[in-house]
Symmetry: C3
Subunit: 268 residues, 3 copies
């Protein structure tokens, strides 16, 4: 596997030196967890969802996360306001379409947000990403029913159509901007036994997006880093309670050198 | 203590093999915790509360949890929609009337939900269950002020009246469908030092409800399993921080054989 | 450093003996964490935010926490109702103006709440406290950009003006009622790598407020105790995942004697 010399050492060092502020409009289930993930990896999280303040908040942030995991109409409106403001200020925005495909409301909200906001990155599992255009696909709640490798062609087409980076996470992650495509091999199966690890992968990408102008590289870095933390944690914990604890520790402990050395990706 | 040969080994194996999707309309405080509880014990959680999608979401679930821990009018409406749809589709619904009796709003909401939705199981502490009919009883927040053994006659009467399974949890748990009654002896006092362990016991029941057509058996299984995990965790942790971590580990680690061997219940 | 013989041993014993009920109207991010903090230190938490019930709920509580971390208009209304009721019943109220100064909405809400509710204590970082009157100051999200020592004069003036206890937390905490002022030296830098430790310091104060009629003493006690737990936890954990777990354990394990012996404060 070739590494194309992506300088992840410097990128992680820059993240920790600058402690970027990441504005999250996200779901109730994972708010605490993803805030702690951001703190552990070296960023500074803020959660704010009120229409009264999201435009002000995003204006002082270096990246915006929009996650539809527990959405309702007033939150969707706040997502639109924050996303519009971020686009105007050229602050990168990442979408996590949690459970898109599982209900009509989620699928339609995802499509509406994609029409109205320019996303730098959209990250989901295969079902979620496939739901963006194919109405008929049903997901089993927030879990994927399609293998990520099946979706490669679709991802490339979608990335070109939407002019965004598409990240499909699964056993192997696929990241593409429509022109260049990477596979990512970091990760661990036990991550799927903790709620919100997909959402956490998304905020990891957001933290790198705040420090790296190429969203494709930022996405590869964010997914490699989070997946590597998942591997690192498994060295010390084999059950999901302690594993979640050690995952946070790993995000904090992994050095820039270790990250660069152990990131497992391949340009295809 | 006699065990009446309830086949908990097969039931837990079935749960883990089928990974049922459990739809939760629950309180903000415990969402992350109960999602992780469901994942650890082998089920698949989804949290969704918007009136726009709860009927769609419950339609793909194998059980629905309604928990009033941090309720507000729009959430109550969503509970009514989801509960109605679940009843129509014969998907089992469990109610956790958190804090019922502590405020008029909670007590009245509980009573309204019970009128409008057919619950397979209602689980609460003694104060919460007693509040369903006796307006005068005050609870100390979400904690019980009545011993569960006092409430046995009341539980049997209520189960018959509402044609549901009533579970009163406390030092010893009581479970009854009005005809058959079980006492459950699994559990540990340190569980009361972690927020949401009552709510977690409820989702444990929900997971078994998704795999066992007799709600009385599913409730006995869910409470035995969760209480046993509480005992198991205490082997490794004596303070609530680490105990919560080990509780999640225990839910993941307990084997079907160990469960059947160590479930402590008695038909009375 | 002189200790002025504050009897923290008896105060912590009283807290654990009486298990006061603390009503929290707080942000989504920290609800689970601060509920577990309150349980671990010996209090009993309840979270309730609906306008339909907050007045009933606060009426059975021994202290009220108002935290604006993820505010929206309907929550602000609930804060006003609960605060008004608490004032009428002489139940102490503490304000945590999370992120005040970061957005106009937060700053204006903080000012409005201070006008309408009599707070026993207001706790924030320097930026948050400075935002109460100086419109121009910008905060970096929820983190402080001002050193707490700079703010000493301002805190004393504000405490006199609002007739409340002002607590500015940072490397060294400042607590003043406008007449008497304390510095608090307990705490640990790793606390800033866990989301909600400021909010947790606030609930620690609230628990002591429920047991001690002098809000200045209660605030010193609450901050010393929480900071001491932060020190205690670092003995066993050097990374934020496990550190958070050990922090909860510490709140549970620290004895009244140990607390009194290791509280580090100074009257200035």
């Amino acid at each position: 596997m070739s590494k194309q010399n992506l300088n992840f050492k410097n990128l992680l060092q820059k993240l920790r030196d600058t402690k970027p502020l990441i504005h999250n409009i996200t779901n109730y289930v994972v708010m605490n967890f993803t805030a702690n993930v951001l703190l552990a990896l070296g960023a500074s999280p803020v959660m704010a969802h009120s229409q009264e303040e999201v435009e002000d908040m995003v204006s002082i942030a270096q990246a915006l996360v929009i996650n539809i995991g527990t959405l309702s109409p007033s939150w969707v409106k706040a997502m639109q306001l924050a996303g519009g403001k971020a686009n105007k200020l050229k602050i990168p925005v990442i979408l996590d379409p949690v459970g898109s495909g599982a209900t009509k409301y989620r699928t339609e909200t995802t499509k509406k947000l994609i029409q109205q906001i320019k996303f730098s990155v959209i990250r989901g599992n295969a079902s979620e990403i496939l739901s963006i255009q194919k109405e008929k696909i049903k997901t089993k709640g927030v879990d994927s029913i399609h293998s990520s490798t099946d979706a490669l062609d679709y991802a490339i087409r979608l990335a070109n159509e939407l002019k965004t980076v598409i990240a499909i996470t699964g056993k192997v992650d696929i990241v593409t901007n429509g022109k260049d495509t990477y596979k990512i091999f970091n990760g661990h199966p036990l991550l799927s036994y903790i709620t919100g690890t997909g959402c956490a992968a998304t905020v990891s990408i957001a933290a790198f997006l705040a420090c790296e102008s190429n969203p494709l590289i930022a996405t590869v870095a964010g997914l490699c880093f989070f997946g590597l933390a998942g591997e690192f944690a498994f060295e010390e914990a084999k059950s999901p309670g302690l594993y979640k604890v050690k995952l946070i520790d790993a995000l904090f402990e992994i050095s820039p050198e270790y990250f660069e050395k152990n990131a497992k990706y391949e340009k295809i």
